[in-house]
Symmetry: C2
Subunit: 151 residues, 2 copies
């Protein structure tokens, strides 16, 4: 008679062959966490990545309604409101009502906001470089190409 395979009750190897480490979503979360850490450590003035994206987009497109800015930065209406409220409170963005359309709230960078974007961009470029540092230059290009397909 064969001996019982001494497997007590823990450490059950998933019979399914499902491995967390092989799932895009799981690894995507880990990579995002690493990036967020690098970002927080290197950006000036304690900006978050979403706040910085918002400022950059506002600089690119000029005055813009709040919801449209949200679409241009991949944030829903509730999220972009919170983000812009905080930027307004810090004096980096200003808001006013659109005289042509009473629903719209127009947003623009203040001079302080424009100045901060200009100062932060070099750091932001370093952040991207630091995040991709584990890859070779060829891999970086390939990775970004593939990642963009998953948007």
């Amino acid at each position: 008679m064969k001996p019982k395979p001494a497997t007590p009750r823990a450490n059950v190897t998933p019979a399914s062959g499902y491995r967390l480490e092989q799932q895009v979503g799981y690894v995507l979360r880990q990579a995002s966490q690493r990036h967020a850490g690098i970002f927080a450590a290197r950006i000036p003035e304690a900006l978050t990545a979403t706040q910085f994206s918002t400022l950059v987009r506002l600089q690119e497109v000029g005055p813009c309604s709040q919801n449209k800015l949200g679409r241009l930065t991949s944030m829903d209406a509730a999220t972009i409101k919170g983000v812009t409220d905080r930027l307004i409170q810090r004096g980096l963005v200003e808001a006013w009502l659109d005289p042509k359309d009473g629903r719209r709230r127009l947003l623009a960078l203040t001079p302080a906001g424009l100045d901060l974007v200009a100062r932060a961009i070099p750091a932001a470029m370093e952040i991207t470089a630091a995040t991709l540092e584990p890859l070779t230059p060829d891999e970086r290009e390939e990775f970004l190409k593939l990642l963009k397909k998953l948007r």
Copy 2:
């Protein structure tokens, strides 16, 4: 005399050459959002991705302290507490004090939790496939390989 280049004040092309779409962090956020949407649409019982990861890990390793489980799923102490509290409240996880170490709170799957993991794994596999669907099979492998380097 040349005509003035009719550029009023908006739409300033960034002199810096900084493009949001080219930054890993920005595209990483978009890809994570897409994945979260796919996950929410296909997983049973309204589990979140982090909740599901927690259940899967718990099934793999068996009874485990709360902070250790957090490390095994890339969540800090505050985050894993919130996640496990909600899983306990739903009856998917049970908790008790470690008699050997008064600081530790041990966690394990309940039968209902084990059952849910088993039922959710096929959906989770489809979620991974759906997320990677824009890539060819070769690209999927390559992407995951590169993504893992960025953890």
